[in-house]
Amino acid sequence: MDAVEGESKYYSTQGMPKKEEGSSVGIKVLFFARARDLTGLSDVRLEVPFGSTASDCLKELAVRFPGLEEIRQCIVLALNEEYASESTVIKENDELAIIPPISGG
């Protein structure tokens, strides 16, 4: 995934002790409705490379849970309970909610 991880530690001269380029960020993904059925989980921890977008997270999730492909075109994303487009960059400890519509009643 990221071959330069070992090196990048030594490039860090800008006083950014933890999350410099090359390291990864850990986020919590929340699944709702059909996404919950397809993954069998209501939430999961996800590690993605620093600088990843919401879209990158979805790609990573699709690898771990191929079933999610079913609803890929029909979900609303929320990052820390705020609206997020797929190009939004993810930060450490963010909470990404994956919300497909429910139609029952």
């Binding site: 709702f32 609303v76 929320a78 309970e81 919300i99 429910i102 139609s103 029952g104 009643g105």
Partner: protein, 462 residues
Amino acid sequence: MDSGGADAARILSEIKGLKATKSDIEAKISALEAQLKDLNCRNDAVSSNGSCPLATSLDSGLGHGLSPEMIHRYSRQLLLPSFGVQAQSNLLKSSILVVGAGGLGSPALLYLAACGVGRLGIVDNDEVELNNMHRQIIHTEAYIGRLKVESAAAACRAINSTVQIVEHKEALRTSNALEILSKYDVVVDATDNAPGRYMISDCCVVLGKPLVSGAALGLEGQLSVYNYNGGPCYRCLFPTPPPTTACQRCSDSGVLGVVPGIIGCLQALEAIKIASAVGEPLVGRMLLFDALSGRIRIVKIRGRSLHCEVCGENATFTRQQFQEFDYEKFTQSPLSASAPPKLNLLSGDSRISSKDYNERLKNGEVHILVDVRPEHHFRIVSLPNSLNIPLSTLEKRLAEISSALREAEGQRDASLYVICRRGNDSQRAVNYLHDIGFTSAKDIIGGLESWARDVDPSFPTY
């Protein structure tokens, strides 16, 4: 003993008949009472100095239009500083349409009638069924088999005879939606299917009506207000409809009764806020209710999409386009969500009716019966001696079928039957079994539902 049983049956049937007549008469009385009140009010209005306690346009000189009886009835709302007489008066002058008198519509209608909306419309063409009762709390047992609209209207009138209740005893379609929705100020989507949700949202955009949209399934609910105060429409959020596999029905996936109840109450609340012009409606936000973990999350959602095909900047979605739009084709699912369409995957000689299967059973034919329903369905009820191998696990558990067949007759040609709830998954299973060499596999047409209907009426259905 025997004559005692017959007597009990006769009495029960007489009670049932009388109850039906009673609820009929009650419905007629309450409809007539409403008519009479309407009539009196109109006459009084004409004779100008009469005082109608229920007049919707009566003015006591205070400008709020509330009669003495209304002031008493709604006093606890009038006492609320942030609601008060002005909001109550707004409510009285407003009209709200609830589409669907089911799990969401039941509590929504009860609260909207109780709180004093001026005119309340109900659209539905379904009948009340026993398996609705656990969540559709507006209906009573006496109404089983009768139209939900009649039942809901009677309940609303019984709670508040001063509200004008309008019964639309028809399914909402593109042909009648514009006309029906145009008569109301606020629309509440309490339907249970994807095409209905797109159709109602589009119609609200075309007519410029606020839409209070709720949904519930299993142990989760969703709520938002669309097409209001510059906020998004349903299509802004979900331009591409979910695939049919993701459009689950309560009749397949199940739903805990109180979950739509909670969402329906919140829908009533949002509709009241809009109609009475108080508070901050749930625009640009979506409420997510998770019953199992006891969590309610409210997430900000996108604003109106400039590229939305219906409400976007360059959208030209007209009334005519709306009427010609095929919502069932768009979502690949039917507007009526009660039962899935019947598949027809197999040729006639690969299928057998439940009656014929019963004959073979009685004749002692050596066979294996595989039930491909999910395990939690199998635990509700199953046929004796059936082997539960859920469709999703069939591929991995073929060895169990082979060994059961071997055991059954010690040779290869014991028959193999497959059953499910309604006869669709069993066809998929037989198709697969044929492909991998179990060429004698037969599907029992119509599944356990047909067994209950044609062979054993005492067999439980769900």
